[in-house]
């Protein structure tokens, strides 16, 4: 979940008023936001945003806009957007995408802004919005990278091309020597962090103006001159690059609306693409690309369980900042420039719900009659548990992830049947348990202080490899027990098994076990049920006890409940 930190006065200014923390807590849910904290010493409000498909809400301006709309029902209008029908004047500002970028990082688009001198707070806030968009929405710059530049130093048109990474050199931000693009990837901190996005290509993306001055090496680093924005600047050029055009258009829309809300004048920039797009080869940005979305009133009624009038729906949408009209029982919404989360009519339904007020919907129970039922394995497990408890055993519960040392090495087994994790976080959690027995032995190894005898059991899942399954693995509902005491042996284990099987009404036979390193040779048996081995029991081999650091003789057993239930 994205979290943002907003200077109080910027936030209140955008809201148009001060609000107490209690008021914020009450109203935040309409933006799926939570007040994460309020640092009154540093005058910073912390906000957590829950909607990962609404990047427009990940900024002070975005949250303030949503709250203001909700309270006033007034939808802000942004006049600087071009569209397929209407093109705004770009006054000679232009980005030209060269064909060389196609297949590497296809698009670069941008806009300019002026009219407000940035102070420290505003600059920090602007960079935070940029970072949220590039990191969370742009997947760590993979799909969106953004640069902010000093507009007055740029000679338009700006050129976006893929160039030779060894021959192209400039002084990157944060350094004072000239480096090639490849050297930046190797030496600059940002190069090390983001260079991998493009370093597999033979040519790297490069942004420069008509004088040949460098703007940046997207998605890695700005130049130290045009790309060095400072406090006191008031004229900016904002450029966004990436492989998915709609995501770039949305990012530009969000940032331009945010900056307009902060008092900037937004200046359109014409973009010439290097390939065909759904919007043509040339558009003027910011550009409204969203198509209207519809939902029938019937869908609204069906989903929400309440009949809302046309007027109620339109007003609800308006509180969500969305222009809506109703014709012939169908709501048509004009998707706001800064949103692109309307995939289906149900997305309109949710906005109607929030705009209308969730509290106004009365809870009511579903009318359908259904029968409650436990799963067969749960029912069978409960029988087994009842018998084991009667035999004096303590039920245990364990984690399913553990280390190779515990699950395999300490058991003296090969581990060929164990399912390992390809990307373990630590070696303590690198394999799914292939058996319950190591868990029971772990208990024994940490419970020397507990009064003997130790009689414990667990019913839980284990996973082993199994070629016959589509996944190549099989998850088994397994039952294991373990008992240790000064005088305990095979006969005790056999008696427990016999008692259990008697009360479960399972006829079984035993078969000698050959070469299972977990048990003392000649003191273990396989349990055969309906012609199939369903489990094993016997005296724990002292080599296993030694590996676990245990010194009390013990017996143990494990049974496949799925097979025994048959």
């Amino acid at each position: 979940m994205p979290k943002i930190e907003v200077p109080e006065n910027i936030f209140y200014e955008l809201l148009g008023k001060r609000m107490s923390d209690d008021e914020l807590v009450d109203i935040f849910p309409v933006a799926k936001a939570e007040l994460d904290g309020h640092d009154t010493d540093n005058h910073v409000i912390k906000i957590e945003l829950n909607d990962t498909n609404r990047p427009d809400l990940w900024s002070a301006a975005g949250v303030a806009r949503a709250l203001k709309c909700y309270e006033t029902g007034k939808i802000p209008s942004y006049e600087f957007f071009s569209s397929a029908e209407c093109e705004k004047n770009s006054e000679g500002r232009m980005i030209v995408n060269d064909e060389s970028v196609v297949g590497i990082r296809d698009y670069s688009i941008g806009f300019a802004a002026r009219g407000k001198v940035v102070d420290n707070e505003l600059l920090v806030n602007l960079i935070q919005s940029q970072e949220k968009l590039c990191t969370n929405f742009g997947r760590k710059r993979k799909t969106i990278a953004m640069g902010i530049y000093r507009s007055e130093l740029i000679k338009y048109p700006v050129h976006y091309a893929a160039v030779d990474p060894d021959k192209t050199k400039f002084v990157p931000l944060g350094m004072d020597e000239e480096l090639s693009l490849r050297e930046i990837c190797e030496k600059h901190p940002k190069g090390k962090e983001y260079g991998h996005i493009v370093s597999s290509f033979s040519r790297f993306p490069y942004l420069y103006d008509d004088n040949g001055d460098t703007l940046s090496f997207p998605p890695v680093i700005n130049s130290a001159r045009i790309g060095a924005v400072e406090i006191g600047d008031s004229d900016f050029f904002i450029e966004v690059s990436g492989p998915i055009l709609d995501d770039l258009l949305l990012a530009v829309s969000i940032l331009s609306c945010d900056m307009a809300d902060m008092g900037f004048e937004i200046l359109p920039v014409k973009v010439r693409f290097a390939k065909d797009t759904p919007y043509g080869r040339e558009i003027t940005v910011p550009y409204r690309f969203q198509k209207p979305m519809t939902a029938s009133l019937e869908l609204v009624h069906h989903k929400l369980g309440e009949v809302l009038s046309e007027k109620e729906c339109v007003e609800a949408m308006q509180r969500m900042g969305v222009k809506a009209t109703v014709n012939d029982g169908v709501i048509t919404v004009q998707v706001p420039e800064y949103r692109n989360d309307f995939l289906h009519g149900v997305d309109i339904v949710e906005d109607v719900m929030i705009g209308h007020g969730l509290a106004s919907f009365e809870p009511v129970m579903p009318k359908d009659f259904t029968i409650g039922r436990l799963s067969p394995v749960e029912e069978f497990s409960r029988k087994v548990k009842g018998i084991l408890v009667g035999l004096g055993f303590q039920e245990m519960m364990y984690n399913y992830l553990g280390s190779k040392r515990e699950y395999i090495d300490n058991m003296h087994v090969s581990g060929d049947n164990a399912v390992f994790i390809a990307n373990p976080m630590s070696e303590n959690y690198e394999v799914i348990r292939p058996s319950i027995l190591p868990c029971l032995l772990e208990s024994e190894s940490v419970s020397g202080h507990a009064v003997y005898p130790h009689s414990i059991f667990e019913i839980g899942k284990i996973t082993v490899k199994d070629d016959s399954d589509n996944s190549g693995t099989r998850t088994i509902d397994s039952f294991g027990f373990f008992s240790s005491d000064v005088a305990i042996g095979y006969n005790d284990a056999a008696s427990y098994i016999n008692t259990l099987m008697y009360f479960l009404r399972k006829e079984y036979t035993l078969k000698e076990v050959d070469g299972d390193p977990r048990f003392i040779p000649g003191r273990a048996a396989q349990i055969i049920y309906k012609g199939e081995s369903v489990g094993i029991f016997g005296e724990t081999h002292p080599q296993v006890l030694e590996s676990w650091g245990c010194s009390m003789p013990s017996i143990m057993a494990e049974i496949d409940l799925n097979k025994l239930m048959k």
Partner: protein, 512 residues
């Protein structure tokens, strides 16, 4: 008085009944009066003193001569000097070795006895260097014999009861410690005199009043029942508040019992349980839930990948094609889809189930309508393990399918969970966000102990989730965060404790 007379041991009862206020109470008195053994007597004194019924009024030292095994046989056979004298008097003169041989004595003993007797003029050596009688047996030797016989009665002699002559006679026979070769061992003993305290008098009165004699039956034996002996007396009443011994029963695990309780609650509300394997693939773990393949929650840092086999063999049709088309362009769901090219290899990649909703998606393909389903299922999340994050943990999830189920039903359902399962005092709903539901609702509750917290997330499955899996009807989906309530129920504050291997900790754990 805070002593329950029923808790008194018979040794204490009998002693209290026997003694009177103001009189001296000694070991001797109790042993002779009640027939206690020394050990029993000491126990009774010690217990009653601790309880404040007796107090020590004086303590004096006394010396006691304890008869040793050597002393005992000497008393029976006679002291060596006496035996040598009697032998020579009867049989005539003999050499020292002959005497030792005849009487089975050590040569050194014969030598020292001869030395003593000759110095008193009772024996002498003749010309043949044989010993012979020369006079009367000395009084001292006679007295030694008498002392040994006297000591044989009680096994010991109190020094204060001996005459001056007896003291002289016993001196050479006694040693301070060890030396069992001496007939007597000298012991220093304390003589303690006790008196009944005021509290002791009260207890004594209470004992008499309660008609406890100390002769009551203790344990009822099978023999007593068979013989009818129990009819001839009464039973000693036991103190009902005496400390109990610890029993270790066979028991269910307290956390598992809690989960069972949750399951039973859901069963009682008409839900049917589902379950599934731990290894899933990206298709069911995310694609089927309409999470785009590039969604940040599907990153390598959020999901555990299976090392081998890396991929499932196949994804079931028609689900695969329908889901893939939905991602790409919305298929027939009325959605515009995510607008990217669905990756058919990625979708087969195997992962450990990261969310319980995966099983809800599976259930859609086999659900009855109307239907209510749930699962309490283990999930795996790529998280640093700490007090609030486990490597694997339980999620409680479910769905409700019905022709006309809607938001208001969802709110009703959440209210029911909040009240029935969480014991909520107040319920609050707020809009939420999940990639697979729209609308999405979070339910917050005010719990009597925990205060306000988020009980769970829910929503109506997106048509992009249900329709590709063959369901036309609306589906309400919900998940409850019950671990927090489980911790509270068990009095714990660390999630790792739920799966502790420590036997003692599990044995003593109990729910509220």
């Amino acid at each position: 008085m805070d002593i329950d007379v029923k808790n008194l041991h018979p040794l204490e009862v009998k002693l209290l009944r026997y003694v009177n206020a103001g009189e001296d109470i000694t070991e001797e008195k109790i042993i002779s009066g009640l027939g206690y053994k020394v050990g029993q007597c000491n126990q009774a004194f010690s217990w009653l003193t601790t309880k404040g019924c007796l107090e020590e009024v004086s303590r004096t030292k006394k010396t006691v001569y304890e008869l040793t095994e050597t002393g005992r046989s000497m008393g029976a056979e006679g002291v060596p000097a006496e035996r040598i004298y009697a032998f020579l008097k009867e049989k005539g003169a003999f050499t020292m070795p002959e005497i030792a041989e005849a009487l089975s004595l050590e040569k050194s003993d014969v030598g020292s006895a001869f030395g003593l007797l000759s110095s008193k003029g009772a024996l002498r050596l003749n010309d043949e260097r044989k010993a012979e009688v020369a006079g009367e047996l000395p009084e001292e030797i006679k007295m030694q014999h008498a002392i040994l016989e006297k000591a044989a009665v009680d096994g010991s002699l109190d020094e204060s009861t001996l005459s001056e002559a007896e003291r002289k006679a016993i001196a050479p026979l006694a040693k301070k410690r060890g030396a069992s070769s001496s007939p007597f061992r000298i012991q220093e003993r304390d003589v303690v005199v006790y008196r009944l305290t005021a509290a002791g008098e009260d207890v004594k009165d209470a004992v008499i009043k309660a008609n406890i004699t100390g002769e009551e039956f203790g344990v009822l034996t099978p023999q007593m029942i068979q013989s009818g002996a129990w009819k001839n007396g009464s039973f000693r009443p036991y103190g009902i508040n005496a400390p109990t011994s610890r029993l270790i029963p066979g028991r269910r695990n307290a956390y598992s019992e809690y989960l069972q309780w949750v399951k039973d609650k859901l069963i009682s509300l008409g839900f049917e349980e589902f379950d599934g394997p731990l290894v899933e693939n990206e298709f069911w773990n995310g694609d089927a839930l309409f999470m785009p393949q590039f969604h940040s929650a599907r990153d390598i840092h959020d999901v555990y990948y299976v090392k081998d086999p890396v991929h499932a063999k196949e994804i079931e049709e028609p689900w695969l094609s329908q889901v893939a088309a939905t991602h790409e362009n919305g298929w027939k769901t009325g959605s515009r889809g995510w607008g990217y090219t669905f990756d058919h290899e990625f979708t087969r990649r195997q992962v450990l189930r990261s969310q319980g909703t995966v099983l809800s998606a599976h259930q859609l393909t086999k659900a009855h309508i109307p239907g209510k389903y749930f699962g309490v299922v283990r999930c795996f999340r790529y998280d640093q393990v700490d007090a609030t994050h486990g490597a694997d943990f339980y999620q409680t999830e479910g769905i409700v399918i019905g022709k006309d189920v809607n938001l208001r039903n969802l709110l009703g359902l959440l209210k029911m969970f909040a009240e029935e399962i969480a014991g909520a005092e107040e319920v609050k709903y707020v809009p939420g966000y999940f990639p697979f539901t729209e609308p999405s609702i979070e339910v917050h509750i005010k719990h009597p102990v925990l205060g306000w917290f988020e009980l769970g997330g829910s929503g109506i499955f997106r048509p992009e989730v249900t329709e590709p899996l063959g369901i036309k009807e609306p589906v309400l989906a919900w998940g409850l965060g019950i671990d927090r309530m489980a911790l509270m129920h068990l009095g714990l504050n660390d999630l790792r404790e739920l799966f502790t291997p420590d036997i003692e900790s599990v044995r003593t754990r109990r729910g509220n």
